[in-house]
């Protein structure tokens, strides 16, 4: 028994010692964060994704590499055709010591519009806009390549972003000639209308060869108005964001498709939000897809910055006699280091 106590004391003390050493050594470990999204869905038509699901888990690692570079790696665990897949969502290195410009190498979400740059846990609604899902695919426009971005010396915020990528998006690019690359560019502007209000206007474009060795062109435009009062901004805020997306894909499935999405988000208390979204896909008359209109309503309760519960209701009109209705309830949490979200 005595030996047991001695052993216990020894164990506890080494544990404490180990912890101290570890915490000092930790400053060289990457920051680790995990976001988990649980989803329960119920549709009156397409029931294939109904029921309770682990929607996605995102594992995020980030750290400065040395005095010149910083690196970020984000892996997503999500269900694909019945089983869980583990995929690199973003893995890239950026410069930190260069003035005026940031260079990036790696795989990342392309700055084509505003929504395409968001991770699933940061989506304003539980699912992506119809235009993003249909035109860019489930994973969005996510490419491997090199990129550069810089602030244009103007009195307001004006950022130019250019990427030179391999172009691997299955539908849009994916040319079998590896010498064919895809280019993505974005110009983003933001004005402070007052201390409480900003207006953001962005234009994006992309170009590359598709699997038919013909051109695919993408165009995006987005407009965002945000209001958060300087006094009392903890309890009230408002956002109106709209985005337009268009693809023009030459080739066998010759297809021009465009869509628009617009949402309102109102914060009514410190932890409560109400939101509404309208989607319209097929502004032009597409040969392959019927026009789809969708209304989405959402109520969010965020106990803290690190957890959220959201209830969403959608009605989808895709030309059939009866609209599809879908209810989704999502619970999301974030543990570990969580880098701040972009404005």
């Amino acid at each position: 028994m005595k030996n047991f106590y001695i052993l216990l004391v020894l164990l506890v003390s080494t544990a404490a010692y180990g912890k101290k050493l570890q915490s000092r050594g930790n400053s060289f470990n990457p920051d680790i964060g995990i976001n988990v999204l649980f989803l329960n869905q119920d549709s009156d038509r397409d029931t294939s994704e109904d029921g309770m699901n682990l929607q996605e888990a995102e594992l995020q690692f980030s750290s400065d590499v040395d005095a010149y570079f910083t690196a970020k790696a984000l892996f997503a665990v999500a269900k694909e055709e019945g089983s869980y897949g583990f995929e690199p969502e973003e893995v890239y290195v950026e410069t930190i010591a260069l003035p005026h410009v940031t260079l990036r190498v790696g795989k990342s979400k392309m700055p084509l519009g505003k929504h395409n740059q968001l991770h699933t846990h940061a989506f304003p609604f539980i699912n992506a806009p119809l235009a993003n899902e249909t035109i860019l695919g489930d994973e969005g426009l996510n490419e491997t390549g090199v990129g550069a971005s810089a602030l244009i010396p103007l009195p307001w915020f004006s950022e130019f972003n250019f990427s030179y990528t391999q172009g691997e998006n299955e539908d849009l690019f994916n040319s079998d000639r590896k010498a064919n690359k895809a280019l993505v560019a974005r110009l983003n502007n933001l004005w402070d209308l007052s201390d409480s209000m900003t207006l953001e206007l962005g234009f994006s474009g992309a170009e590359g060869k598709n699997s038919d060795h013909l051109d695919t062109k993408l165009f995006g435009a987005d407009l965002t108005l945000k209001w958060r009062p300087v006094a009392g901004g903890k309890y009230r805020s408002f956002e109106w964001a709209s985005e337009f997306l268009e693809k023009d894909r030459e080739g066998a499935t010759d297809d021009k498709l465009s869509g628009v999405v617009s949402h309102l988000k109102y914060q009514m208390a410190q932890r409560w939000y109400v939101q509404y979204r309208y989607d319209y896909l097929g502004l032009n008359e597409s040969k392959t897809i019927d026009a789809v209109k969708r209304h989405t309503g959402l109520v969010a309760f965020l106990p803290s910055e690190f957890s959220g519960i959201r209830l969403q209701y959608e009605t989808i009109d895709d030309g059939q006699t009866k609209d599809e209705k879908r209810v989704s309830l999502q619970f999301n949490i974030s543990i570990g280091a969580h880098p701040a979200h972009a404005y």
Binding site: L98, A150, T198, E200, K234, A340, A342, Y343
Partner: protein
């Protein structure tokens, strides 16, 4: 035409350094730091603060327009102690101004110079709310801490702008003697042992300096909104301790404090600014300390 463009580009880049050698451009994360810079540097620098006086500095949005300001700044003065962890890194990244990175000459972190209060000694997790592992970041509300930081700030300004060293030195001396004198006067106005309740742990350093005792916080944990059960506990404590004053920092909602005051006889609620420009008439740190003293004195 081609030649003209080339010439234009060359001229543009030649002009850039001239443009950047004008007055020292200083950015601060809070208005209290801005006031401190103004008191030491006078009109020798241009200074601007990211957060406004009525905003909670924990939750500032990383507006892209701030990146533009940071891209043109020579010096960034921040609080540190993880106060700005949710937004400042994004601004610095977007600014593409490596001079302002942590550890570089253009970034002055005031929190590193302070012996902080309320540094957690036991292990903690996010279940304890927004705990600052390096201690409470609201240290500028103790006037003597402002002097400590001003001294180091004076050296930093002199290093970046040696021409005006004597001005910074002179202003610092005046600031120190004025503030020391005022602190003596303020101490006479506050009865040591005055009991208060507060919304958030913002005034810890102020209370510590003037011998004010904080009996309870309206927040059950830092950053966690008050629950009904917690409020009942606060009411009970306020009654047994005979607290006469509840202080609510003006970026928080005073509803809960008013609710407590309804139940606790003789308890007065005061909504106070805790930052310069938190109210229009508070123009500098002296005004801020004066207004806090006035709120607490009987």
């Amino acid at each position: 035409m081609r030649k003209n463009i080339k010439l234009f580009v060359v001229i543009f880049f030649c002009l850039l350094p001239i443009y950047s050698h004008a007055k020292l451009k200083v950015l601060t994360t809070t208005n209290n730091l801005k006031s401190l810079v103004e008191l030491i540097a006078g009109d020798k620098v241009d200074v601007e603060s990211f957060s406004k006086g009525t905003q909670d500095p924990h939750y500032i949005e990383a507006k892209p327009s701030y990146m533009v300001k940071a891209s043109r700044a020579d010096l960034l003065v921040s609080i540190g102690l993880e106060l700005e962890v949710g937004w400042l890194p994004l601004i610095l990244r977007g600014s593409r101004n490596p001079r302002l990175r942590e550890g570089e000459e253009g970034h002055f972190i005031a929190g590193n110079l302070i012996e902080t209060l309320e540094k957690p000694t036991a292990t903690f997790s996010r279940a304890d709310g927004d705990v600052h592992p390096e201690g409470n970041p609201h240290f500028l509300l103790d006037p003597l801490n402002a002097i400590k930081i001003a001294e180091k700030l004076k050296f930093k300004l002199a290093k970046l702008d040696p021409e005006n060293t004597s001005v910074y030195e002179k202003n610092f001396k005046k600031f120190t003697s004025d503030l020391t004198l005022r602190v003596k006067q303020w101490k006479k106005r506050i009865k040591v042992g005055t009991k208060v309740i507060t919304y958030h742990k913002t005034l810890t350093y102020f209370y510590h300096r003037f011998g004010i005792i904080n009996i309870a916080l309206l927040e059950p944990k830092p950053g966690v909104p008050p629950s009904a059960r917690h409020i009942l506990g606060v009411m009970k404590k306020a009654k047994t301790e005979g607290v006469k004053l509840a202080i609510v920092e003006n970026y928080f909602d005073p509803t809960v404090a008013n609710r407590v005051a309804k139940d606790v006889i003789g308890l007065k609620v005061k909504v106070v600014p805790v930052s310069v420009n938190g109210e229009p008439k508070i123009l500098n740190l002296f005004d801020l300390y004066e207004s806090l003293i006035t709120s607490v004195e009987e």
